[in-house]
């Protein structure tokens, strides 16, 4: 049986869903549990074709509740397990992820966002930000990577398994329908050849040894008798989360040093934002670019430093202010004003962003949220 799915490095031209399947193999995922929903289906299609060649497994469950909970079972048993979903499936996935959050189960979920609310469109949006970051009946102690390219889908899917197992918080890779379905060039690689040490999983149950002689039986629960007992456990999780948040946070900037207006965006929208900022710079406007790669934990400190220096932030997203809320919370109290270019469920072009920034510079647009 072949174990190494990728030898060395390879230039490829693939859809995002295919990239995710290869990345999960490269990361050492042993089993995928899944339920069909567009636009993430091809992750399962590729996984079910590739997995048997590398001794990996798959289970098609009855719904996303089951896909999420069987994934938790796989993780508890000590293997790298993952699932993928979208839209209303993501809604159902919040229940198992609440359990993962509370019980510190290192589950990995790939989300390819589609239009919401409810079932809505099956293609594209950035409307699953709030749900993916904070969707459970908990405190949102998760890690959410928002990818902007196929290369990042590959890199961050591998990273998601390491992050999950290192810190033991549920970890999401937040893509979208465009990333899922379009094809673009990237390099896939054996992570070890690039010095990426894969974090080994460990069993939570059925550890080696004999109960009562060389190990205790595991008693895993997320039920507590008193509010104080719950408070104590959650407080510990929050401390752990806050202690590592700085290590986990990632962001990308460009032309930020002397910027007067900074365009803030995430995911594929940031590709348009980057192009717009380049055009604005070429026409002499001091625009800058900021992209949070981790939406949870949000790179608060870094964005705040920028907000303290610039006059204005323009948040651009394919949602009605889901990223904007994160930005507002992050920079609360700073002097920069915030405007939004918010287009729930549809894509954003560089030309629109250029036009919006130009309008703002001329004071024609009084909309958005200003402090």
């Amino acid at each position: 049986m072949l174990r190494k799915p990728i030898e060395g490095e390879k230039k490829v031209f693939m859809t995002g869903n295919e990239v995710v399947a290869w990345a999960a193999l490269a990361a050492g995922a042993e089993i995928m549990y899944g339920y069909p929903i567009t636009p993430q289906n091809e992750i399962m299609h590729y996984w079910t074709r590739l997995a048997p060649r590398f001794g990996r497994k798959f289970l098609q469950t009855e719904d996303e509740l089951s896909a999420g909970f069987t994934t938790l079972g796989g993780v508890l048993s000590g293997v790298k397990a993952f699932t993928a979903t979208a839209g209303p499936g993501n809604t159902l996935m919040q229940e198992p992820m609440s359990m993962a959050e509370m019980m510190r189960i290192p589950s990995v979920v790939i989300i390819q966002q589609r239009g919401g609310p409810s079932t809505a469109t099956v293609i594209y949006s950035q409307q699953e930000v709030t749900m993916t970051c904070f969707g459970g009946n908990g405190e949102g102690l998760r890690v959410v990577y928002s990818t902007a390219s196929h290369q990042e889908l590959f890199d961050y899917t591998i990273k998601a398994f390491n992050t999950a197992w290192k810190y033991r918080f549920p970890t999401f890779v937040l893509g979208d329908g465009y990333q899922a379905k379009m094809r673009e060039p990237l390099e896939i690689y054996d992570p070890e050849l690039r010095g990426i040490q894969l974090v080994d999983p460990e069993p939570y149950v059925v550890r080696p040894g004999i109960i009562g002689i060389d190990r205790e039986a595991a008693h895993l629960r997320n039920t507590y008798n008193t509010e104080e007992e719950l408070y104590e456990v959650i407080s510990g999780h929050i401390r752990d989360y806050e202690a590592v948040a700085g290590e986990i946070e990632e962001y990308e900037t460009w032309a930020i040093e002397d910027a007067e207006i900074v365009v803030v965006s995430h995911g594929v929208v940031s590709r348009a934002a980057r192009m717009a900022v380049e055009e604005l710079r070429a026409s002499g406007i001091a625009a800058g670019y900021f992209r949070p790669i981790t939406l949870r934990p949000f790179p608060v400190k870094h964005l705040r430093e920028i907000a303290d220096r610039v006059k204005e932030l323009l948040v651009v997203e394919s949602a009605y202010g889901q990223l904007q809320k994160l930005v507002q919370i992050a920079i609360y109290g700073s002097n920069a004003s915030i405007s939004g270019h918010l287009k729930p469920g549809v894509g954003v072009t560089a030309a629109e962003i250029v036009a919006k920034v130009t309008e703002l510079r001329h004071g024609k647009d009084k909309g958005g949220i200003r402090k």
């Binding site: 909970f69 079972g73 048993s77 198992p96 550890r207 040894g209 039986a217 008693h219 039920t223």
Partner: protein, 255 residues
């Protein structure tokens, strides 16, 4: 009542006396299960999953690896473990709500996929922990907090006959039985057969356990046993359901 004298070796002494209400059937069911685990000598291989509802009080009941899950989701958690680590012996333990209402899709699909796990479902004809509301198993005419004038077919349909349903879905792949805490020796045998079925890799096994809830039934000891042994068994037939005729053991068989 046909009792078993000794305490199972795999019971966790530190959590005894247990947390169930006086007169609750869970302790008896868990005792029968504990003895079955002892007899098969599988303490180190078992993962015991419990649901939300009264069954969650079993989260530290045994000295076996245990995971308490969400309401209705114990079956997929145990199925997920078993799929990843087939050498594990997976036991999903739940109430009638967890198996027949909120988790029914998981029970149906685990049975139809022939997941090689053992599901144990405690039927006490009501939702105990939440305060005695109607369950899928509430008998016709039975009063609960949400059927204060008695369950009717018009409003709530017929009580779910789970083992019969599972048998219809899973067919010859599954071991299916209905036991009762009024006969723990027989119940233990059903558990043994179910676990042996799993260990042999044959497939799904499912046991419904008729159990008592004097707190919510508001019954004294005599009426509790009368309801369990006389009323419940009229509708819920005790015995092995999912085995061939030659293997079949009926509830009334002598000890």
């Amino acid at each position: 009542m046909n009792s078993l004298a000794q305490m199972p070796r795999c019971w966790r002494l530190a959590s005894k006396p247990h947390k169930f209400c006086p007169g609750c059937g869970h302790g008896l069911a868990l005792k029968a299960l504990g003895i079955a685990i002892d007899e098969l000598n599988i303490q180190n291989k078992v993962v015991f999953g419990c649901d939300i509802g009264c069954s969650l009080l079993a989260w530290d009941f045994f000295d076996v690896d245990t995971v308490q899950t969400h309401h209705g989701r114990t079956t997929p958690v145990i199925a997920g473990i078993k799929r990843a680590r087939p050498e594990v012996i997976g036991i999903a333990y739940m109430g009638d709500g967890g198996g027949y209402a909120i988790g029914s899709q998981h029970l149906v699909n685990a049975a139809s996929r022939n997941e090689k796990i053992t599901v144990i479902l405690i039927n006490n004809t009501n939702y105990g922990m939440t305060g005695g509301q109607m369950a899928p198993t509430t008998l016709l005419g039975q009063k609960t907090e949400t059927t204060p004038y008695g369950r009717t077919v018009e409003e709530a349909g017929f009580p779910t006959q789970g083992p019969e349903m599972v048998k219809a879905i899973a067919g010859e792949n599954a071991y299916v039985a209905r036991g009762t805490v009024a006969n723990v020796r027989q119940l233990k045998r059903f558990f043994l057969r179910a676990l042996e079925h799993q260990i042999a890799g044959k497939g799904f096994s499912f046991i419904e356990v008729l159990s008592s809830c004097p707190t919510n039934w508001r019954t004294n000891a005599r009426d509790t046993w009368k309801f369990l042994e006389e009323e419940m068994t009229k509708y819920f037939k005790v015995g092995e359901i999912g085995v061939t005729a030659a293997e079949k053991e009926v509830a009334a068989c002598p000890e």
